[in-house]
Symmetry: C2
Subunit: 207 residues, 2 copies
């Protein structure tokens, strides 16, 4: 489908097709949809993109996306400023915020250690995490990384980097999010590793 009847149409399709998971047929469908919209709606769309790229900031403390230099979570006085939850990316912050179960701070690594993808510890925000840990201020680091090999590697690396704080007189607590059978799942359909770990890491039954 590359015989576009208009160069402008072809350009717009090229742009959409450069997005991840968008093929040329989908791109064409999206562009033709936009073409049916009024001019000001299309301009608003385009402006939202340029504004975003030109004006968005990354919080200089936690590296979450933000409209200010320091994000609303890092600058909030209503949050537990002694706990840092370490996540891979911005979506993870949003997912955890949506649970309503966490009221501490975050640290967005911007990736996880993955030698196969050429991502090492220096490529992600681990140094800046270690710099944030002042024993008198931070009591706990929660590791909330993906439960994959890469996530485990990154967890282990961070744990090693935080070792001095863990061994200190006022020890830093390093925890990781619970792994186990997802709520609503049958044991029968849970994979063996998850089920095995859920037995090993069983918790006290409370009524």
């Amino acid at each position: 489908m590359d015989n576009y009847p208009s160069i402008l149409l072809g350009n717009a399709v090229d742009q959409f097709a450069s997005l991840p998971g968008v093929g040329r047929k989908t791109a064409l469908r999206l562009v033709l949809h936009l073409l049916r919209q009024p001019q000001d709606k299309v301009n608003t769309f385009a402006k939202a993109l340029t504004d975003l790229k030109a004006n968005v900031h990354y919080c200089r403390i936690c590296h979450n996306i933000s409209d200010q230099e320091v994000c609303s979570i890092c600058s909030s006085h209503h949050r537990d400023r002694q706990t840092i939850c370490v996540v891979e990316n911005i979506q993870d912050v949003m997912s955890i915020e949506n649970t309503g179960q966490y009221n501490g701070l975050y640290h967005v690594l911007g990736g996880i250690i993955s030698p196969i993808d050429g991502v090492g510890p220096k490529d992600i925000e681990i140094d800046s995490l270690v710099e944030r840990i002042l024993p008198e201020n931070i009591k706990e680091v929660i590791l909330a990384l993906p439960t994959t090999m890469e996530g485990d590697t990154t967890n282990f690396y961070i744990y090693r980097r935080l070792n001095a704080f863990i061994q200190a007189d006022q020890p830093l607590r390093v925890s990781q999010i619970a792994r186990g059978v997802a709520v609503g799942n049958d044991l029968e359909y849970t994979d063996e590793i998850t089920l095995g770990r859920s037995i090993i890491n069983r918790t006290e039954f409370r009524v």
Copy 2:
């Protein structure tokens, strides 16, 4: 997922999520992808959209999309100017062009008659089709509309509108694209109506 850490991010996600078939999670993924691109790439993306909407034309003869007032197909001297292929939309023109089997002109209706969607004959480009038929110039109209009830209704309506030309001394030929078993399909998995029609409309076997 509506706790966006940045208003600019939320705006951009809103725009993408307004596209058909794009949910809010996908929209966020696309926006975060764009955010990782250099500023000039994002500006090019935005410019392609505004340029398209501001400068694209619809051919005043066939209503296909075009960079000029008359599209390259309608203005070409290398095409058979006695045949018009009637299609629902711009994608259909591109699909037929890609087959390389057709060298005539097109007429894009911009929709098909669908009472359930409130689309009547006056809402699509049927009048302009009839006006294009000058018996001395146009010898054949090929109906290449979807093989649905709405497509059949539109075919029938166009046939009726062209009746005077069909009954003329030099009759206009009105044909429709062949319906039958798709190439590569087993008869076993072809629906009964299609298979039945493919027997009724069988063609001469040629070696």
